[in-house]
């Protein structure tokens, strides 16, 4: 019995000790070099181990989950990961690929084969320098160069709209829990919005709405880690668009944990934005009914992703025409040649004479 009690006491002391070995709380703001915990904890993202202590390597907010300490950075650069969906800008057109600026320390390449199989003609007729594309990271090589592709729904070139840039670490907050934030903005403004995981956001709608959306996105970026943000953004949208905030709105609480999950999730789901929207559609129907809002924007602009330009068909069409022309030309040439041969036969002696003086040959060729 005494032994049993003693054992419990030991466990108690041990647990107490473990409890004491963490120096920070969830959501604390930490700076590089700050000691977070003793060695008993697991060192997660944004932390490093040194002399039996876990320290922060970044400016960010602490996230504590299952004895794992991580730091979610307030600012950081986008590092390409396989499977990410991103927005990139064509920086250069090469022989068989495009160089793409993907808002990262590393640039991406879009091989011509990703766009049109083995043919690699007329690259700049499809995408030219300055075009902005919605892309997927197909692969990342050992020097972190990203190979990009266009396979997926809505991938391709954007037409019109504006680009808003935010810190890549704030992307999960912009999307919100199961897409709550982004869908709310889409609903209220009637804009099409595509969020790249590299921190670039494409917005298209009425010009005024584009501006409102841009401002709201910038507010979300700035206040990403404050509580009650979804509600404040909702109120701001009502104010900017309708001029007043309807009464009796429910307050949804924002869950910090969900964001941690999101940002830790390495495989951002296929067409993540879409999936979230579908799963959230029901909730939004309720939302709409409840407040009996005008739905004029939604009618005007269906929430849809940008359609990939139908350039494959265009290209084929062009090539077909080119081929026809070529065939025709070849036929003509053949006939001409025949005629020429006839002529040259008759003029053979004459030609020979002319070839002797170089000047006249040059002149002839001109």
């Amino acid at each position: 019995m005494a032994y049993y009690l003693f054992n419990h006491l030991l466990v108690g002391i041990y647990l107490y000790g473990v409890y004491k070995m963490i120096y920070v709380e969830n959501k604390d703001l930490v700076i590089p070099g700050e000691v977070l915990a003793e060695d008993d904890f697991y060192s997660g993202r944004g932390t490093f181990r040194e002399n039996g202590k876990i320290c922060s390597s970044l400016m960010g907010l602490v996230s504590l989950r299952n004895r794992k300490v991580s730091v979610i950075p307030l600012k950081s650069k986008y590092i390409p990961k396989k499977g990410d969906v991103i927005i990139g800008k064509i920086n250069d057109v090469k022989f068989s690929m495009w160089n793409v600026d993907i808002n990262s320390p590393y640039s991406g390449i879009l091989p011509a084969s990703e766009v049109f199989g083995r043919d690699k003609k007329n690259l700049n007729r499809i995408f030219n320098v300055g075009d902005v594309l919605f892309l997927r990271v197909v692969d990342v090589d050992e020097v972190k160069k990203a190979k990009l592709g266009l396979k997926g729904r809505g991938m391709g070139k954007f037409k019109g709209g504006i680009i808003v840039s935010i810190a890549p670490t704030k992307v999960p907050r912009l999307i919100g829990k199961k897409g709550s934030m982004i869908n709310m903005i889409k609903d209220k403004t009637g804009c099409k919005i595509v969020v790249g995981q590299n921190g670039l956001v494409w917005v298209k709608g009425e010009k005024d709405m584009e501006q409102i959306t841009k401002n709201v996105i910038k507010i979300i970026e700035k206040e990403a880690h404050t509580s009650g943000l979804t509600n404040r953004i909702r109120d701001k949208l009502y104010l900017d668009i309708d001029g007043e905030i309807p009464e009796g709105l429910d307050d949804e609480e924002y869950d910090f944990e969900s964001e941690v999950n999101l940002s830790n999730n390495d495989n951002f789901d296929d067409d993540s934005n879409n999936h979230r929207r579908n799963s959230f559609a029901n909730k939004h129907k309720r939302f709409n009914k409840k407040f009996n809002r005008r739905n004029s924007f939604n009618k005007k602009y269906e929430l849809e992703k940008p359609r990939l330009q139908n350039f494959k068909a265009e290209l084929e069409q062009e090539e077909l025409e080119a081929k026809k022309k070529e065939d025709k030309k070849r036929n003509d040439d053949f006939i001409n040649n025949l005629e020429n041969i006839e002529k040259s036969k008759s003029k053979k002696s004459f030609n020979l004479n002319r070839k002797k003086s170089g000047f006249s040959i040059l002149k002839d060729n001109f």
Partner: protein, 262 residues
């Protein structure tokens, strides 16, 4: 080299064609201007001008030197500009680029040709000793329209610049650091920069607007309303009408810009 996204170009052009701008300003509206003077204790005159997000520091260091042989009784102005790498990811360290030389020369021309500084009063001994004013323009943040911002910073710095009294004793200049006099000035000069986007002229271009401009026109006008300097830039031509209307607009904006210096 930075490449402007095609959709940004389209967006800005279509906004301007509808008399709108990215940041909600009118086509003839300046961003917020803030000027702070005497910020550098070691410089005789200094100022920082913030035009929206654009920030330019101007510092003035006077020294005694020899006049140019063709103007033995006039002081000397030397304007130099550095586009610091921290101002813009595209600015690189190293010797001054052609952009920074153009900026320095446009600001210099405004001050020189308007006779803003009474150079004859900067003469200590004719033919031997005159004041040389080194005007250094330091661009620390480029969010568009460096010309106007730099010009305001230099104007403000010149306004606060104090020179020690200089006397010639036995062929040598003796400076009296205790007694200082302000630089003798005639008037101030305002620079107004327009860019042509689509078919319209836009005042005080933002960074994105500068990226998509087809032509640029800077007009320098003195307090009294005389046009003293002008610079046209950009790849495309301007029509006579566009230039005249821009100059008219610049004239009407002149007092407003110069009021920031008080």
């Amino acid at each position: 080299m930075y490449i402007t996204p095609e959709i940004t170009r389209e967006n800005i052009t279509s906004l301007v064609n509808n008399d709108k701008r990215e940041d909600g300003r009118a086509l003839d509206e300046y961003r917020n201007i803030e000027i702070e003077t005497d910020i550098i204790p070691k410089a005789e005159g200094s100022a920082i001008c913030k035009l929206g997000g654009t920030k330019v520091i101007a510092g003035i260091k006077p020294s005694i030197g020899e006049p140019f042989p063709d103007t033995p009784n006039l002081g000397v102005l030397m304007t130099n500009c550095e586009l610091l790498p921290m101002a813009d990811p595209e600015f690189e360290p190293g010797p001054p680029s052609s952009d920074s030389i153009e900026l320095a020369r446009v600001v210099d021309r405004g001050i020189r040709e308007s006779e803003m500084v009474k150079l004859d009063e900067l003469c200590v001994e004719e033919g031997k000793h005159v004041w040389i004013l080194f005007i250094d323009i330091h661009v620390i943040d480029n969010c568009g329209n460096l010309f106007d911002c730099a010009n305001l910073a230099v104007n403000a710095a010149l306004k606060t610049c104090k020179l020690p009294k200089a006397k010639v004793v036995d062929d040598e200049v003796v400076l009296d650091e205790e007694n200082t006099i302000p630089i003798p000035l005639n008037h101030n000069v305002a620079l107004s920069t327009f860019v042509k986007i689509g078919d319209k002229m836009v005042l005080d271009p933002s960074l994105n607007e500068e990226k998509v401009l087809s032509a640029r026109l800077s007009v320098g006008i003195t307090e009294s309303g005389s046009i003293c300097s002008m610079q046209k830039g950009g790849d495309e031509p301007l029509t006579k009408e566009e230039i005249f209307s821009s100059v008219k607009l610049a004239l009407s904006k002149n007092a407003e810009i110069l009021s920031n210096l008080d």
